[in-house]
Symmetry: C2
């Protein structure tokens, strides 16, 4: 991003108008340079990158402010799951035209989230595209040296925990697409909001760093993401579907037969944290989560072996999931 | 990027097949995690991000290997201009489908450039798009603390230098679009190659860091980019158009009236370095550039004042440029 000047182009004007006011971090140089400086303060730098595409990760008529928040928050969710505190981000914004009506609320919401999550914008690139809108964000986090939480540390006997509730976003997307039967208006709004605006568990980052043996964020469906964590750690798992935390609106839809627990655990876009915690750290983890005001639930145990995770019903019988997660390819 | 496992999705397979072999840096964790670790070794971390879009920054029938190289090299060019040594990159790849025919040469070329420029892939995100291909790269560089070269340090009396030759890529694009009269085949190939595959001046990074007062890469046209550098530094400039370095093919096209020096200095995609060097550092800078085997040319001087840079013809008369640079908006 560059500033306007004698040679100001359309891109420069756009950046100066909408994004320079957000670039308050000294390392952003007010977006008047080709590059930014990322302050590491001696910590390890955690880097994550996630993009969202119109028609794929958000809907064409989603409000611009929710698109901005989702683009940043899916990255903040990754940082939280790695135990990292946000340090800043850069964005690539691919747009068809520089419409005030869209850019103003987009930039305002992005700036609000940057402040709310203490993750300043450091720079970016704005490009013209004839195709769908796309926002790609690379976010940076800090952890004390050697303390990034990997997917690889889960051990047999560890408890498997998830934050918040699972499946809301997938149900919200179904409702937005006109699929699935009718919850009341306020339940509908809750589920759609969960799809449009994830709530990254940034408040839990330090608890995860201090106590989890492995962690990742749940973005492609709990079942598939747990399978990935287990594969990376070289372990298996048993999950009790009855213990998977559901919101009241999700539970109502499932109870009425409009959806299913299978859909909830294989849908995407939860942006909750999935982590494994050794038995002897569990109480400390729960205390830290309570302190951070983040709800956590135990859904199962890590087991030895290389088998795919088992999902059990309330009677302890295995449930075969038709699909584990969502893939766009 | 994530690895395949029991929950492998199409994206996981794609990443494992094409990109995991490139992820040899320990901080990339073999792309089996949600995030990477960027090793700073106590240096300052320079961050830059640049995206290229099909039909905007490259042509739909450009070969996939040249697209990969361009995507990475436009970012390496920014790092070089900031005096930074490459430290790694993450990419977002938005593609319509996972075609082997396109992905295999793309990934191979990206891996070759990562090795050639010592800039390892650390991670990324692969997304599906119904629209044009897009590659967004965020690249990281290292400089000793406080040593990033900004756009803001140019002082009256400093020499203005550029690397290599100017205008080739813009002429190459004109030829690809079927515009502009006919150079011979080999001249044509040289110019088109300059459009498709920039040559980042990474070898000059340390010389820039040690001697330049201000620097940026020339991506939107020399005239407009110099105007930006002057605006950022609060200075003006005088440039002798006769001193702007031209390649033999560009000179031939201009001499025959198929193009003009104005087109050369306002075209984009040069990816050369524009820098200002104080008089007392000039000899050391030239010696370091020679050592690095990078050609540099003086094109003018920084002057006091806030006026737009002046461009002078061989007789010292001002030339009015119809446009200074290229903008996609």
């Amino acid at each position: 991003m560059t500033a306007p000047g004698a040679g100001a182009s359309g891109e420069d004007d756009l950046i100066a108008r909408y994004f320079r006011p957000l670039a308050t971090d000294p390392g952003a140089f007010g977006l008047v340079d080709d590059a930014a400086l990322l302050n590491h303060s001696g910590d390890d730098i955690v880097v994550t990158t996630d993009a969202i595409v119109e028609g794929v990760h958000f809907l064409p008529d989603d409000p611009p402010d929710t698109i901005a928040r989702k683009a940043l928050r899916v990255n903040l969710s990754d940082l939280a799951a790695k135990g990292a505190s946000p340090a800043g981000f850069v964005l690539t914004l691919a747009i068809r035209d520089a419409a005030e009506k869209w850019l103003a609320p987009f930039a305002r919401a992005l700036g609000e989230d940057a402040v709310a999550f203490n993750c300043p914008v450091l720079g970016g690139d704005t490009v013209s595209t004839p195709g769908p809108l796309m926002i790609s964000i690379t976010a940076f986090g800090r952890v004390p040296p050697g303390k990034m939480v990997r997917r690889t540390g889960a051990k047999p006997g560890d408890r498997i925990a998830v934050t918040g509730t699972i499946g809301d976003a997938a149900l919200g997307l179904h409702l937005l697409k006109g699929q699935g039967g009718g919850p009341d208006r306020s339940a509908r709004d809750v589920l759609i909001r969960r799809y449009r605006v994830p709530q990254p568990r940034s408040a839990l980052a330090i608890a995860i760093r201090d106590h989890a043996s492995a962690a990742m964020d749940v973005s492609d469906g709990l079942a598939g993401d747990l399978a990935k964590l287990c594969a990376a750690s070289g372990v298996s798992a048993a999950v009790s579907l009855a213990d998977v935390p559901l919101s009241a609106p999700a539970l109502a839809l499932i109870t009425k037969g409009h959806s299913s627990i299978e859909a909830a655990v294989s849908g995407g876009d939860d942006y909750e944290v999935l982590c494994t915690v050794p038995e002897n750290r569990w109480e400390s983890f729960v205390a830290a989560a309570r302190e951070a005001d983040v709800p956590v639930s135990v859904i199962g145990r890590i087991e030895a072996g290389a088998a795919a995770p088992r999902f059990l019903d309330a009677a302890g019988q295995p449930v075969v999931l038709k699909r584990l997660s969502y893939s766009h390819f």
